[in-house]
Assembly symmetry: C2
Homo-oligomer: 349 residues x 2
């Protein structure tokens, strides 16, 4: 990325010396005022502030960070391409919780967008630059470099979702917030069993994410002897859910229930079932995961699904990070939190 | 926002001296390597890099910026609450264009989210901290403080949409990218006139945004003698469009066409027309603005609308900013760009 020419005279920023000169005070006094220091008489404070405003003086960033180590900013990093972040309501709900809770702490939310994992070099440079006090990272994949980048630059971080690689035995666990993926999935499948369904399929998420693996485990907890052909893998998108549903109907035309690992895939599955003339829930009962109200309440029929408190989890991540930044326990000692899930009954199952 | 206790020994970052000592080189040599400088023999470069990795050394941010004044990062600031940014496809399209083009320049997109205009103090502090090389700002409102904040901290900036307050006569104009709001609106209304429609209503956007005002002007250009009761104000949301349509039908039950200032409001208007049993386009013809494909192609009937190249405008904003950062003309001299619009014919008019 190009920068301005170094000798560009029009781009020279005013110095603290210029502020002091304009205010008619010593450099030390000007410095104390700029750094919010006490011990300066009020009229002098006002003179200096006026000079700062007049000159458009910008305090030296690093000098301030050395004193307080506070940028008043927290990075949010999501390992998904920008278009998924804006099309999957899961991310907007989580960001909503984070944004609202950061406001409470008067901290600026800095969302670092990437086009793909290849862009993490750039994210690493930004984190290395010391522009943020901490980070919240989510949607990690198994082969994700982010935890090692974060560890290398010693950025206090809380993860959303259990990270896939806990690291070598010598490395401490990473602090995270996650919902009870396994327990919630098991509850969904038990509900389908209780309705008398016998051929219960599962549309799983991508196997490089722990949330998908844990939900498969919950499905298997209830159906340990289930036919492996009743399990198809989607990618947490509407289209992925539709593709998986098509495969499942080809392999098992007699299936009578589907548990999809998120609501987006459930809505894709629902479309395929409707196109094939399968009545939901009469012929095929369907349960999703997430309880994204913007999806689950508008599908026809509305979706029975496993609710997780996505916004609340975002808020919790912020509070954990703030405790860490407050010096209350290192990240290494910060306890991870698993939040409960709850089956929400609607018409689809 | 709380920071770690200053004397927290576990939080001490490794110094350049420690890197030099571990690598067995002088501090000057270590500094040259860290700053990417030439003139250091390759084996020494490798020794220093190894020490940097081992210690997790983070280069002093300000020292680097003083040399190059490049953070490799650009802020994107949108004066809308976070929930609107994630629910209005206009913003995701613009961010998509910006994200892709910034990738070309290997610059990190830093999206600064706010809950409301009250949060601009915090954004100002972040900009003042010198964490970004420049900014892209959009969705400004008339009373927006953002331009004055940006001017004060001398952050090179390109605006998306013509800013509402060009500033005092002594202040130079702000560089912006916008579409031909007025010309596009006039084309939409001329199309409705050409279909023989005589009572053409307009659902306008909020009057504190120039895009809304310019589209009203385009409507008036074609219908200078139109009944003022045929104009209702929405807020660029689906619900706002529905409310405005309800008002218009109460005031003018005989209206035979509607031009809505964006597609979201057009889809809300369409819902109300359907609920009232008005056939579109037979009884009421409807034209939107934006051509958000995710809306205009899925409404029933599909929406005739004024297309603006939102993603392309985002890309253009990045290229203009990069020219500025390259020293090719100051912001004051950078020419603003108005991009053309085009009427896209679908079934609704």
């Amino acid at each position: 990325m190009p920068g301005p020419t170094p000798d560009s005279s029009r781009d020279v920023r005013p110095t603290l010396e210029a502020v002091a000169a304009l205010a008619g005070v010593s450099r030390a006094t000007a410095s104390r005022v700029v750094n919010g220091g006490a011990g300066v008489r009020k009229p002098l404070v006002e003179q200096v502030r006026k000079a700062v405003d007049e000159l458009g003086y910008v305090p030296n960033h690093a000098a301030r960070t050395l004193v307080t180590r506070r940028n008043g900013a927290v990075a949010v990093i999501i390992d998904e391409p920008e278009f998924r972040i804006f099309s999957d309501p899961f991310f907007s709900q989580q960001i909503r919780g984070i944004s609202r809770e950061l406001s409470v702490y008067d901290a600026q939310l800095v969302l670092l967008l990437v086009e793909g994992s290849g862009d993490f070099d750039r994210v690493a440079r930004y984190l290395a630059g010391g522009h943020v006090d901490g980070a919240l990272a989510f949607s990690l994949h198994m082969d994700d470099e982010l935890p090692s980048i974060i560890r290398r630059f010693r950025v206090p971080t809380v993860y959303g979702g259990r990270p896939g690689r806990p690291g070598a035995a010598s490395e401490p666990a990473l602090p995270y917030v996650d919902c009870d993926n396994r327990g919630g999935a098991a509850e969904a499948v038990r509900h389908l069993v209780s309705l008398g369904r016998r051929r219960i399929a599962h549309i799983a998420g991508p196997r490089d994410q722990t949330s998908a693996l844990d939900r498969i485990d919950g499905y298997r907890d209830v159906l340990p002897e289930g036919d492996p052909a009743l399990l198809a893998e989607g990618d947490f998108t509407v289209e992925g859910g539709a593709r998986a549903m098509t495969q499942l109907l080809e392999r098992h035309p007699d299936l009578d229930a589907v548990f999809a690992a998120n609501d987006l895939m459930a809505s894709g599955a629902l479309r395929v079932l409707r196109e094939r003339g399968r009545r939901v829930p009469k012929e095929v009962a369907l349960v999703g995961f997430d309880d994204m109200v913007s999806i689950a309440e508008i599908t026809e029929p509305p979706l029975t699904t496993v609710r997780q408190d996505v916004e609340g989890m975002g808020r919790l991540m912020v509070r954990m990070l703030m405790r860490r930044l407050n010096g209350e326990g290192e990240g290494d000692e910060l306890e991870s939190v698993i939040t409960p899930t709850r089956l929400v009954h609607r018409a689809s199952a």
